[in-house]
């Protein structure tokens, strides 16, 4: 009788604890994104300003610094030169940058790219498809993707040049 009660209570408490634990874990401690650190990065194909198709899966074996940005986003504007200068250092060590513009007019993007003399590929997500796949909220958003195509980290918000350097170091193959 005593043993039965103990086990009954233990089982009921355990079930409730598991349900609560799962709910809180999945809601709070897992980022509320369709896509999380540790996932493999969703493949995408977009066209850059020169008309070349850029496909993420072609970059296997290299670290990819995937940056989502817009010309109107001030922190994006600030960090672009940092990314550009660090890219010039790390491209020889197998780190690539893909900058995904969130679907602005080509002319607008081109002006911006010319102004900052960006040397990495800049692609435009004209139909929001890639933004949907990566569940992009506020800009800028940066995904660090390792040589296996796994997402190592997701950074939202502005970066310093020191940050950019640190992040590129992390995905160096």
């Amino acid at each position: 009788m005593k043993g039965k009660r103990f086990w009954l209570r233990t089982v009921i408490l355990a079930i409730m604890l598991a349900a609560i634990g799962y709910t809180i874990y999945s809601n709070v401690f897992v980022e509320k994104r369709a896509i999380q650190v540790g996932d493999s990065a969703p493949d995408f194909v977009l066209t850059d300003l020169n008309g070349n198709k850029i496909q993420l899966s072609d970059y296997r074996g290299k670290g990819v610094f995937l940056n989502f940005w817009a010309t109107w986003c001030k922190p994006c504007e600030k960090e672009m030169p940092y990314i550009n200068s660090q890219y010039n250092v790390y491209k020889n060590e197998g780190v690539e940058v893909i900058a995904v513009n969130v679907g602005e007019a080509k002319v607008t993007v081109q002006t911006f790219v010319d102004r900052f003399q960006l040397t990495f590929p800049v692609v435009i997500d004209q139909q929001d498809q890639v933004m949907n796949a990566y569940n992009i909220g506020p800009l800028p958003a940066t995904f660090l993707i390792d040589k296996e195509g796994k997402i190592v980290d997701i950074i939202t918000g502005a970066m310093t040049e020191e940050d950019v350097k640190k992040y590129m170091e992390r995905i160096k193959p």
Partner: protein, 538 residues
Amino acid sequence: MEQVKCECGHVNPIGTVLCEACGKPLEEVPMLLDMRYEGSARRSQTYNQTIVDKIWNFFSSVKVGVWLIVITLVASAIGTIYPQQMYIPPTVSPAEYYEEQYGWLGKWYYALGFHDLYSSWWYMLLIALIGVSLVICSLDRVVPLYRALNNQRVTRNEQFLQRQRLFSRSQVKDYENALPRVVDRLTKRGYRIREENGNILAEKGRFSRWGPYVNHIGLIVFLIGAMLRFVPGMYVDENMWIREGEIKEIPGTNGKYFLENKTFILEVYEKEKEKEAFQAAIDRVGSGMMAKNYQTDVVLYERVGPVVAGEEPKLKKIKSFSIRVNEPLKHDHYALYQVDFKLNELKSMSFHLTDKQTAKSFGTITVDLIQPEKEYDLGNGYKVQLLSYFPDFYFDENGNPNTRSKVPNNPAFVFKMFAPDRPKGEVSFTAIRQTIEPFGDNKYKMAFAGVDTRHVSALTVRRDFTLWILGIGGTIFMIGLIQGMYWNHRRVWVQRINEDVLIAAHTNKNWFGLKKELEGIFNDTPFVMPIDQVDKRS
């Protein structure tokens, strides 16, 4: 050791106040019996041995449950002081916004998770603990109550009867002959009669006692439904803006479905078009002021082949549909609802390349405001280059032209105009009602020639597999509520002890109703109507 034997022979669990069988008080109790839970043992208050028991007993307390609810209530109230995250501008970082707007209070508001209350871990924990309290409180009370009601005997202990609220003691001549009439009346009023040695227990509506527990089961089912929303794929709630003529991926469908907006329609009530009966009502708000219909005519497509984001999709048409308020497009458990709109968004702008002096035009260009061309050739050596484009133009803090977004709310252009007599070109900054010639006086200008507009429709994308569980939970909740509200558990005891006849009655609610009923039952009989001992005392 864990049991108490009553003098009637029944063995009760330890902690029992009133014997389950005969009702004799087993502990010191007040003169009038407290009949809550039939005086059964609440186990929680008796066993306290292991850590599991201790946790269990903590949650078994109704006091704890009430405090949990109060704390949740207070937290919810605090959550309404500053706006929730979903209502602050989407472009700002919430961490900075709350501190900037509301100072150190705002900072703590954000740090403690009040800015997104329903998603903060401790709020969810509170709700979950209320759920735990609900389960344990119910279990700890419903089991003993069931036992007590199931074990009750017809013949009760004298003390039990005389300490009921409604009670009478009298001597009745010819008890055996008078009783059937009472039994008959009780039966007619829906009582089930049990008889034992000439004593009677009449009972009805016991099922009402289970109402609260049924209600709690409904709540638990409801909470489980709410929990399932966090399971991936169970719940989708997204928003999309789509322009007329646009084909767009439907967010939340993992790139599987696309939608085309054929046209957006806003209809209003107009005086001339409506029946006579509506004229007065239309006059009151003004003709054309009241919306009649918001509608988006759409075509739904499914993507064929593998999904690679960004790739031009191969689409298969599924259906055409007119989405109206409360008439969503439904497919594959997804529902698209009309939720908002924007009229007359700029689509394209036209300009004449004009000689400022003679006002002679050398051709017209039309600039698409979503994807403008880089160059517009007008022939005969006249052409226009678009150097820069700002769809939502403003001067930033450094005095440079910039754009606020990619939406063409206030388009501005930097044109370079070429003419046979200006082979190097002239630069002109052209915005709405504004022209700047940064490099001196130009010969030519871009004269505004007109705009083309279109409507934009906003749709909500919903998929909810938890709705039916919430529905079931809500239904059970209501059944429990009705069960406990509209039925009363009433019992009448008629018992002969030596020469005396004892009559006692109990109900779990509505004593007035019970008294009225008893009047009808004992009227014109030799029995003495039970007296309310609460009234008598005061």
